[in-house]
């Protein structure tokens, strides 16, 4: 079925904290679409609930591999249930996981690397870059170092 504003579903996958603050600055771009959120902490879920369905999959990072698997499992469940057409993320680990799972299920991937990374792309971003359909960074110096990476502006 052809995609349209009516049937396109967008997944906004983002860790609590700075990543989320950055993502929400871009909310204008998905206003016309059905969206749902995947995030890491219950505390932010209360806030996100008002914008769309929110799945809390827990915190994980590269230091705790067991937790990564648990979060991965929960993310797979979300993908199967929600079937998003597009994944949009500003990071970090949870965004990376959702981008890869989304891609596997046929979704398009949009990644905006956090402004916190001023020297090079984040670890999650470096992995997602290879599968992203749109990859934006927030420092022009970084965009120059990589192919298929664009700089169009900054969220702050």
């Amino acid at each position: 079925m052809a995609l349209s504003k009516k049937n396109m579903k967008i997944c906004l996958a983002v860790s609590a904290g700075g990543h989320l603050t950055e993502l929400l600055k871009l909310a204008d771009s998905w206003q016309q679409y059905e969206v749902f959120y995947v995030s890491t902490a219950n505390m932010v879920a209360e806030k996100l609930q008002q914008y769309g369905t929110t799945h809390v999959v827990g915190e994980c990072n590269r230091e705790h591999l067991l937790r990564v698997f648990l979060v991965l499992f929960r993310c797979v469940r979300v993908i199967i249930r929600e079937r998003p057409n597009v994944i949009i993320s500003t990071g970090a680990a949870v965004g990376c996981i959702m981008c890869f799972l989304g891609k596997l299920s046929g979704a398009k991937v949009v990644w905006i690397d956090t402004i916190a990374n001023v020297e090079w792309i984040s670890l999650s971003g470096r992995m997602v870059r290879h599968i992203a359909d749109l990859f934006l960074v927030q420092w022009p110096e970084i965009a120059e170092q990589y192919s298929n990476v664009e700089y169009v502006g900054t969220v702050i």
Partner: protein, 160 residues
């Protein structure tokens, strides 16, 4: 009132303890309110909570004369938005305060641009706090609309 915040993901004992010690030395003449997340050290000289709801966090932020924090982008964003003088000390991987040392580079960049003050060692904290009183952050020109527009056009391009 100075608002101290360190985010919620990892502990930052080194920082909270240092600020508490500076208080002991009488170098801070203002009250402090702190949001310390997973930090296990409990300050003796000021009130601290683990986390704050977004609304309460924003109120505390707006009501503060200045803010001291880790070099998290979330905090830097809120400080720039509210035009608050902000002093940061980056979390470091070697103390298990974060997964890598990116906060050092973040702090340096925003410091260079005149948006924040930064110290990179606890021994420089007293001096940083002193400077913070007179610090006027440089305003930043952001362009979230340009990014939002780019994403919107990408989403449109997916439709027939």
């Amino acid at each position: 009132m100075i608002f101290l915040t360190v985010g919620t993901q990892f502990p930052f004992d080194r920082f909270v303890r240092a600020v508490d010690n500076i208080f002991d030395q009488g170098l801070i003449d203002e009250e402090i309110f702190a949001q310390i997340g997973e930090t296990s050290y409990k300050p003796r000289n000021f009130e601290s909570v683990v986390s704050l709801e977004k609304k309460v966090f924003d109120e505390r932020f707006k009501g503060a004369s200045s803010v001291i924090s880790h070099a998290g982008v979330g905090t830097i964003m809120v400080a720039l938005k509210n035009h608050k003088p902000l002093l940061v000390m980056p979390r470091m991987k070697r103390y298990k305060e974060h997964v890598n040392d990116h906060q050092i580079a973040t702090a340096k960049k925003f410091e260079e641009l005149g948006h924040i003050l930064a110290v990179y060692d606890v021994k420089d904290l007293p001096n940083g706090i002193r400077k913070l009183k007179d610090f006027i952050p440089r305003k930043r020109k952001a362009s979230p609309d340009a990014i939002a527009d780019k994403i919107r056009r990408f989403l449109n391009s997916l439709q027939d």
